[in-house]
Amino acid sequence: MNWRMWLWMAVGMGVGGCAKNTAVPPYPAATPEAVTKVTEAVFPAVVRIDVKQETFAEGKRKLLGGIGSGVIIDEQGHVLTNFHVAGRAAEIYVTLDNKERVPGKLVGDDHWTDLAVVQMDMEAVKTKGIAFKHADLGSSKSLLPGQDVMAIGTPFGFARTLTLGVVSNTDRTFYPERYRINQYETGDFANWIQMDTPINPGNSGGPLVDMSGKVVGINTRAAGQSLNFAIPIDIAKEVVAKILATATPGKKGCVERSDLGMELKPLQGFEQFYNIDINRGVLIENLDRGSAADKAGVHPEDILLELNGQATNARFPEEIAGLRKRIGDLAIGSEVTLNLKRGKEVITRTMKTEKLQSSVGEEREFAAWGVTVRDVTRAYANARQLENEKGVVITSVNPGYPAAKANLAPGDVMTRINEQAVDDLEAFAKLYEESAKRKDDAVLVDLVRQRTIQQAVMKISY
């Protein structure tokens, strides 16, 4: 069940002049006429995206080139694409339907849903006199299995490629698998549209379009043999709105979510054992150490019946993402009341939600030491069974540089530098700068490697 994640390029669907006034059946079919008409309408809103994404390897910040797809969603030139295409991108170029290319910038991204918003350089668009259209975003809620859909994008760099297929399933979950994009968690908060519409690497970020010309999904992953997956547009619309609302000229937009620190498990097959009605509640399988629910005294094997008075039922795996999203959508810091069944009793626990944190902390390069490090987050500390979330974790070392020569290795957690505590990345950066200023020729590092505590000395030359 190890789905390969493929970059896809998707073509946006031009709204302008689309059959808005024409009466169409609710699920129009892919007649030759419909296909050509939709293609004509959508092509001008689909772009090819060339990116240089920030990556950290061999002790250095590097830029890695890639190609994907995107769809223009408004007159301001915002382009919706995948996080795995344009997230963390330092350089972006957008190629439009008329083959003209303009620079773009990352407005914001959200790895949890694998989405990103890019904006074309509107000055360049204007200067070059490029005309473009934006696509109409439809609704994924009304999609039906069997419905005809089209994917448009840049598979393997072949721009403006149209493929045709049907919706295979509208409620696909990969539960209990959890996926990651370069270690960033993804796919936890929504189920997928599954379709047999062929997509390939480079299609990522491009639109899945129904036969009325509306975007119903963002093509995101392929598992081969006609098993392809798109993010429902209803999810994407929410994410876009939040990214645009939080983006400022100096700061990328993002989606903040609430977290209680509970892993939920569907109850199918457990009902008799826990003596609970069918279709009632959801099993709490794990509590993140130190999380809100953990501190409030929620236990594994508690059955969550209600959250703020609303039923939380998940009998099947398909129902888990929706529950996670309900928790994620709560206002951060708001008070939450859980009704739980524990054994024969029903108990209530109250807590305040916390901001959802990734296990992937912020990452930076420290060139003189030849090392890239990430902040240790609580999720990372819990997953690695670290004592606490203090310190920074090495993600790569530059061969021949001080860290590598001192035998430091990826995965080592640095807890002290020159006998000073490293609480987080900021503290580490400060100690690095101070050391560089003093031109220390030797730096003592305390580190945790798996279950051992060690010391190393980096010899620095300036």
Partner: protein, 456 residues
Amino acid sequence: MRRMICVVAMVLGMCGGVWALPVGEAQKLYERVQRSLVAVQYTMEGEYGRREFTGLGVVVGEEGVVVTPLALFPTGLPDEQMKAFKIILPGDDEQEVAAAFLGRDERSELAFLKAKEKQKWVAIHFEDAAVKVAESVVSVGLLPKEAGFKAFYAEAIVSAVLRGPIPQVLVSPGGLAGVGSPVFNAEGKAIGLVPFQARQSILLMGNPEDLQAVTAPPRLFVPARDFLASLADPPTGKPLAIPWLGAQLTGPSKEVAEYYNLKGVPVAMVGDVIPDAPAAKAGMRQGDKVIKLNGLGLERGDEPAETPQILVRKLRRMKVGQVVKLTVLRGKGQPESEVSVLLEEQPKGANLAKRFYADDLGVSVREVVFADTYVKRLPANTKGVVVAYVRQASATATAGLKIGDFVKELNSVPVEGLGEFKSQYLEFRKSSPKDVVVWVVVREGGTQVIKVEPPQ
């Protein structure tokens, strides 16, 4: 004697040291030694199935005590499942003698058995002889069972004497007879034993044509000096009480030593100090640098990492209840201080943990040992059992339970220990022969609730 051999050889114009021993002497040694070489056999029987293991043993006591490398009894296998120990005397009239397992000796990486029958055992007596580079050594081993356990002879020249946690002697490419073989010097003294080593088999079983010991023979042996104390005081049927410090020790790199102005000083650095263990009780702290043991500087290894390993090995050879004085340096520039550590017995390993096998589910669980809670960072007194074995394609394997899972609850009842687990499970099965069993386990820092459905 040696001089005479050389004189004779000189007369014959061959005192270049081509052969370790003159042919006649060598043949005598071969004849003598093969009477002390035996095959050691035992049966492992448990949830894994049933399998026989055979390896080389050397008779070291006239009352029938036999020594083998420890690797013949892997510590991953539960002791309680090792049965039917035998000593096989090779020869045309191959003889099998029932034996008792005296136990593992982790101090010297050896294991001991004793024949249950009295007979005229011919023992090899190891001696503490200095081993020098360029001297000749010979060894005698046994070919595998398929080759009738035939004794074979090998000669080599000492290439290097290595310092490490276990001192080892490297010999020239001619190599040594197989793992477990005794090694002799040119005077015919038993001066070492071939330990288990990379790319060698511990077993005297398999196709004799691809026998490593013959085609690419072992090239390392352990000098007798390292294990004479074990031979004099072998285990007696019970696991040995091995002392420990209860603190991680690492060897600081040259640069770290320099930082602490300890350049050239053999040092062991204290890492994690385990609560309530001897080091913690003696007040040792993380970051302490141990520089002396009982007033003497630490013994240096060839690599900085080996210095603490040598220290640990020395401590393991002491007695539980003994007090050792460690000289430590705390912060940079602070004076030496001395700590007295009362050595306690190290916690038992998983091989000694009691087990319970639930055949219908295809799963074994065992008692919790120290390493389980330590590695998972669970409180040391966490109660439960640990999954020790999951049979392939069993109900448990299908449900996703994994070896190493720390079981905290069975059917929503907290697991107190193996005995409680066993009785609870058996009782449950009596009343509900086919019902699902729900496990709550800790894995990778998180809990999982796993439902196992027995075959219906």
